[in-house]
């Protein structure tokens, strides 16, 4: 876990996943299997035949210009967005729908809620619950959804806060935390559900520059511990360093996919080159 420059105030070095109660076991099985996903916003065809597989413990970074559909895509993975065509499977379960003779029928809310328990999500704007303290944010879902006892949840919650370097902030409300601290609490909150997959939707885009490092550091640690992750980001350093695979999207399509080496050193697609030239 060395070789990286650490962000200033984050004391990591312990297992984030251990804090949450154990890492998923490693193997090459497929966690996310998106097949030919189509989605429209009205007349706008925002996702066009998008297919993507993510294996266990793999970190996939999704890049692309704004409006390319990358955020929409990961929101479909936990059914925050509906899809009109194709299938998305997570751990073998069809997400959000029942397949009735080849037609997609939206599933019951309770079933969708159950599927989402296995999929953590971190939002661009953190979305912490402002009426709850950092610790209460973290124990909310384990106690209310998983039925964990409060004592056990507090133990898990405190351990997670320690791992993201915020043990001292357990009783702070979100409004009393910096953006970087809020995002780290949000990551801990998602991890408390022991998800099999973590989705990151531009987790550092709403942060002041000096806070980006501390959040990326937590994400890197998570990746090293073997969490399966899909990360939508503009942080090229993170993509280069942490990603197992980089996926480039443009105008609702996946246009290029490859290792960071391939992607940053000799991309084949002209649009990828243009995009990288603009951003690097």
């Amino acid at each position: 876990m060395t070789g990286h420059q650490h962000a200033t105030d984050v004391a990591i070095g312990h297992d984030l996943l251990d804090a949450a109660g154990g890492a998923p076991t490693g193997s090459s099985e497929v966690v996310v299997d998106a097949q030919h996903v189509d989605k429209w916003f009205g007349k706008l065809h925002v996702l066009q035949d998008v297919s993507l597989q993510v294996k266990r413990q793999e970190v996939v970074v999704v890049l692309g210009p704004s409006g390319s559909g990358k955020t929409t895509f990961i929101r479909c993975v936990n059914h925050l967005e509906k899809i009109q065509g194709g299938r998305i499977f997570v751990n073998g379960h069809l997400i959000g729908y029942r397949d009735v003779a080849g037609k997609l029928i939206e599933d019951k809310e309770a079933n969708i809620a159950k599927q989402r328990q296995e999929i953590g999500m971190v939002f661009q704007r953190f979305n912490l619950f402002p009426h709850k303290t950092a610790l209460e944010n973290i124990i909310e879902a384990p106690t209310q959804v998983r039925g964990m006892s409060k004592d056990e949840a507090l133990e898990v919650g405190n351990a997670l806060l320690q791992r993201v370097g915020l043990a001292a902030k357990a009783d702070s409300y979100p409004a009393q935390l910096s953006g970087g601290q809020q995002q780290r609490v949000a990551i801990a909150r998602a991890l408390a559900m022991k998800p099999a997959l973590m989705l990151f939707d531009e987790p550092t885009s709403a942060l002041d520059p000096e806070m980006i490092g501390e959040v990326l550091e937590v994400m890197k640690e998570l990746a090293r511990e073997g969490m399966t992750m899909i990360v939508v980001t503009h942080e090229m350093g993170f993509a280069r360093e942490v990603a197992d695979r980089v996926v480039m999207m443009d105008e609702g399509r996946v246009i290029e996919e490859g290792t960071p080496e391939h992607f940053f050193n000799n991309p084949t697609e002209e649009r990828t080159k243009t995009f990288l030239a603009k951003i690097l």
Partner: protein, 262 residues
């Protein structure tokens, strides 16, 4: 002619059984009607967001009717109209061994006030729900919370901040609107005063006397409301909350309607 101080003081401050009963009736009616209003308002607000068209329709119809007709008419309709519709009187003078204070007229007026209030509360609660950032529901959902849990644990507690100030205004209003119950013979403060000047032919003194009590009740409520709002501000870093005196001296705080009989 003129103001008779002795009559005013005597009516207002002689602590006697009828006065205590009238005060109790006013307060009890206001509290019960407001509670009923909050419950019905919550149901109607949630019903209005339902995907089920029947539930949605019923909620809309309820709000439309009770906001669109006078509450005085609704009280009279319930008290006089319902017995003729049902063919029996659900509002007798007294219910078994219950105190006479909680008789049929009291029940009819309280129900009518509460049902009317529910229509207004529904709009207030709806606005409160809409005021909560959509990211909150998304975060709750992404953690696997069901729509019910998301609403009760995440959305509504935050909506309260927006709901409580107008709710306070509503209750302030309710304390005064209870005076309408006098028309169906509920001996609340107004009917107490009317009974008095029916005998003395001096209406001014007892009427000013009950104004003292209404002011006392609304002022006390203002204190409670201030504390409630402060408590709800926890963690939200909103230090600009108006204090009690500021609230007392400003008229309406953004309630969808204000004042008196509707």
């Amino acid at each position: 002619m003129g103001f008779q101080m002795k009559e005013f003081l005597d009516f207002t401050f002689t602590w006697r059984e009828v006065l205590i009963a009238a005060l109790t009736t006013t307060i009890l009616m206001a509290v019960l009607a407001q509670l009923l209003g909050v419950v019905l308002g919550l149901l109607a607000a949630l019903g209005g967001r339902s995907r089920n068209m029947v539930i949605k329709g019923v909620s809309g119809l309820y709000v439309w009717f009770f906001r669109g007709t006078p509450v005085l008419v609704q009280i009279v309709l319930l008290y006089y109209g319902l017995p003729s519709l049902l063919g029996f009187d659900p509002f007798p003078k007294q219910y078994g061994n219950l105190p006479e204070l909680i008789g049929g007229a009291f029940l009819a007026a309280t129900l009518a006030l509460g049902i009317n209030e529910g229509a207004y509360m529904s709009e207030i609660i709806r606005a409160g729900i809409l005021s909560v950032d959509s990211g909150q529901a998304e975060a709750a959902k992404s953690l696997g919370m069901t729509p019910g849990k998301t609403m009760s644990r995440i959305i509504l507690p935050q909506a309260l901040r927006v709901i409580v100030p107008p709710l306070g205004n509503e209750f302030n209003n309710m304390l005064k609107t209870t005076s309408l119950a006098s028309v169906v013979g509920v001996t609340e403060l107004l009917l107490l005063a009317e009974n008095r000047f029916g005998g003395t032919f001096r209406p001014f003194e007892p009427l000013i006397g009950i104004c003292v009590y209404y002011l006392l009740l609304t002022t006390l409520w203002g204190l409670v409301q201030g504390r409630l709002e402060k408590k709800l501000g926890a963690g939200l870093n909103r230090n600009e909350e108006a204090g009690f005196w500021a609230r007392l001296l400003t008229t309406s705080r953004g309630a969808p309607h204000s004042g008196g009989v509707r």
